[in-house]
């Protein structure tokens, strides 16, 4: 491919970026201040509200002007095999990202991007913080050109590194035909939405309303909590009825929200294999494209919950080597797929997996006692004391955490397994559902063995193995097995000649 010379010329982002910047600011303003805006709209005569609004809009206007100036000063270009960005309003800064350090180049398009035919380009680098780069709006063709240029360079480098001959072998750029591993139909999407974790959404909504009540409390001086307390303590027939209506309503709302969220996020999800990389494209309004190179894959996880099991679906996560400190989720998520698709994916990523012969190791039952004490007994005693002190009848219900902990501890111990094969390691678990985490032993970075006095008394230890994309931690493992596992892993890693990434 002949690199286009204009990539070397410093250039601004697409002029359409201005519109995107405007929208970005509008969204930030609305997101940050919507409770205030709401209150101002409801109660426009409130003096405090107006002052706050004026100040907020002033700040927003200044930052908007600043960002527009920043746009005109923002240039990107390629120089000496580095992607450079020159920016800054008052102080000029130049950010150089060497191609060698670039881990992945992802495109993101929301509805506006799609409408304007531009993409946001996210360049992730290995290591050092603050060196990742994001271009807000680039024309699609230009972005693709940029990506291809950098990827071609990287591929060429890799080839040179592998054959360290004196001459450079011609670099074949093979355009492999992408293989579609799975595509989610609207029906699949419904199944996934229905079987998502609704409790989590309920908790978020609950927290959100508490936060809202706080805001209203502070801004308007309405005593929301007091009102709530009055209604709940009254316990009139009306109050009871209201509660009876509110709970199902709450459940229906959280259910609907999760369903909508799932559909928006995973709409038209397609999971592709393109030569040596895997790609997931999804989203209704925001079209997200994430890809992972096969060699970077470190951990594969597949999970099912009781609801998901009804439909026979699994959630699959593919984790890649990433800078853990960046706290950014760089895994590929396939929210729902059938067992055959999990097997097929495993087969393409780790072909030897189907021949693996695993030996299972269980967790010592003493873990149940520990879990019951920590998550059941101690909280139950504290709740009991609280209930006794407050003479609150309902609070006694909280002590039910004790039997619940017994049940959960029992289920946890029963399902937990550490499976080892000479090449692979799987950690299985799940209390109500099932989860499996697979790693290839030669990709392990380090091994830790921990033991508490309680564990040592029973001849037990905790085994932790770390990869660049996640860890397997297995407490309450037989000490002899844990040591053997550690010695074997070290032996395997140290004699391995394949690169882990």
């Amino acid at each position: 491919m002949e690199p286009s010379s204009h990539l070397y010329q410093p250039q601004r982002q697409s002029p359409k970026a201005v519109l995107l910047i405007l929208l970005k600011y509008l969204r930030i303003i609305v997101r940050q201040m919507w409770p205030i805006l709401l209150i101002v709209l409801i109660n426009p005569t409130n003096g405090k509200g107006i002052i706050i609004t004026v100040i907020a809009f002033g700040i927003a206007l200044i930052s908007l002007i600043y960002s527009l100036v920043a746009y005109t000063r923002y240039y990107f270009f390629i120089e000496n095999n580095e992607l450079c960005v020159r920016s800054g309003v008052f102080r000029k800064t130049v950010l150089n990202v060497p191609f060698d350090r670039i881990q992945s180049i992802d495109f993101k398009r929301n509805l506006v991007h799609q409408f304007l035919n531009v993409v946001s380009v996210q360049v992730d680098t290995a290591g050092s913080k603050g060196s990742e780069l994001e271009l807000d709006a680039i024309e699609l063709e230009r972005a693709e050109e940029l990506r291809e240029f950098i990827l071609a360079y990287k591929q060429a480098r890799k080839t040179v590194a592998t054959y360290s001959d004196t001459f450079l072998p011609p670099i074949p750029i093979v355009q492999e035909t992408p293989e579609l591993i799975l595509a989610l139909s609207p029906k699949d999407l419904m199944k996934i939405g229905i079987s998502e974790n609704h409790l989590r959404t309920a908790a978020i909504i609950f927290a959100f309303f508490l936060g809202l009540a706080d805001d209203i409390d502070q801004l308007l001086g309405w005593d929301v909590y007091g009102q709530l307390e009055n209604t709940t303590t009254a316990m009139s027939l009306f109050g009871l009825l209201a509660t009876l209506v509110a709970i199902p309503l709450f459940i229906v709302i959280s259910f609907t929200i999760t369903l909508i969220r799932t559909v928006l996020k995973y709409y038209g999800l397609k999971f592709w294999r393109e030569g040596k990389s895997y790609k997931v494209v999804s989203g209704l309004f925001t079209r997200n494209e994430k890809s992972i190179q096969k060699s970077k894959i470190q951990v594969i996880r597949w999970v099912t919950s009781p609801l998901k099991r009804l439909f026979g679906i699994y959630q699959m996560n593919i984790y890649q080597a990433a800078n853990v400190d960046q706290n950014k989720d760089k895994s590929l998520v396939i929210p729902g797929c059938y067992k055959e698709q999990v097997d097929h994916t495993l087969d393409t990523i780790v072909p030897e997996f189907k021949h693996a012969v695993f030996t299972s190791h269980r967790m010592h039952p003493a873990i149940v006692r520990l879990m019951v004490v920590v998550f059941g007994f101690i909280p139950a005693v504290l709740f009991g004391l609280m209930a006794w002190y407050n003479e609150g009848m309902m609070q006694w219900l909280l002590t039910l955490v004790f039997p619940l902990a017994i049940l959960m501890g029992y289920l946890y111990q029963r399902k937990r397994r550490l499976k080892i094969d000479p090449d692979f390691m799987i950690s299985e678990g799940g209390i109500f559902g099932n989860s499996s985490k697979l790693i290839e032993i030669y990709k392990i970075q380090s091994v830790q063995i921990h033991s508490s006095p309680m564990q040592r008394r029973r001849g037990l230890t905790s085994l932790h193995v770390y990869t660049a994309g996640g860890e397997i931690a297995f407490p309450y493992l037989n000490e002899k097995i844990a040591r053997q596992a550690r010695d074997y892993i070290l032996y395997r890693v140290e004699k391995e000649e394949k690169s882990w990434m």
């Binding site: 080597a321 853990v324 400190d325 012969v357 030996t359 299972s360 190791h361 269980r362 080892i420 094969d421 000479p422 392990i444 970075q445 380090s446 091994v447 830790q448 063995i449 921990h450 033991s451 508490s452 006095p453 040592r456 770390y466 990869t467 660049a468 860890e471 037989n478 002899k480 097995i481 040591r483 053997q484 596992a485 550690r486 010695d487 074997y488 070290l490 032996y491 890693v493 140290e494 391995e496 000649e497 394949k498 690169s499 882990w500 990434m501």
Partner: protein, 178 residues
């Protein structure tokens, strides 16, 4: 169900014959480091104790629970100082041909091993108290993230420097072989 005492059922290699990391001869840290541990633990303990008693003094309505709480915090802080000092005797490192191991902990023991062919980089650091006692801290980074970084404190600067050079050379060699 009978417990499985072997790691694999399909023994391809002699598991008993593998080098056993448990048999390692641990090299202890510099004795001066024990003092450093006492001092830094005592400083933290001082802050905790002062803060908890200050809260009790300025919030009289917390009594009597305030006193119980502050008393507990004092006990915990003292225990921390004692534990820190005692745990020193259980700290040590060992180097083999292809990996490095660090062991620590008195009641809660832990042992981390990093193969040289997984080392990303190393650095040497000196804290304020370390510098007074002429000690250095060697940190070995892997791609596995913060919790796997192997940190060996209480080394003489020369030893630390030597260790660092050795590790980096071994890492280079093992990567060249790949």
């Amino acid at each position: 169900m009978s417990p499985i005492n072997e790691l694999f059922t399909n023994d391809q290699i002699d598991l008993q014959g593998l080098p056993d990391a448990e048999q390692l001869e641990m090299i202890p840290l510099e004795p001066a480091y024990k003092t450093v541990r006492y001092i830094s633990a005592a400083l933290i303990a001082f802050v905790i104790i002062t803060a908890s008693w200050a809260i009790v003094m300025f919030q009289p309505d917390l009594a009597p629970y305030g006193y119980i709480g502050a008393g507990l915090m004092t006990l915990i802080a003292w225990w921390m100082v004692v534990y820190n000092g005692l745990a020193f005797h259980y700290m040590g490192y060992a180097i083999r041909e292809k990996d490095i191991t660090y062991k620590s902990g008195w009641l809660w023991k832990s042992m981390t091993t990093v193969p040289f062919n997984r080392v990303q980089h190393c650095d040497l650091r000196q804290g304020i108290i370390d510098r007074r006692f002429g000690l250095s801290k060697l940190t070995i980074y892997t791609a596995g993230g913060q919790s796997t970084d192997l940190m060996i404190p209480g080394l003489l600067p020369e030893t630390a420097e030597k260790l660092k050079t050795f590790i980096l050379r071994s890492t280079e060699q093992s990567i060249e072989n790949e």
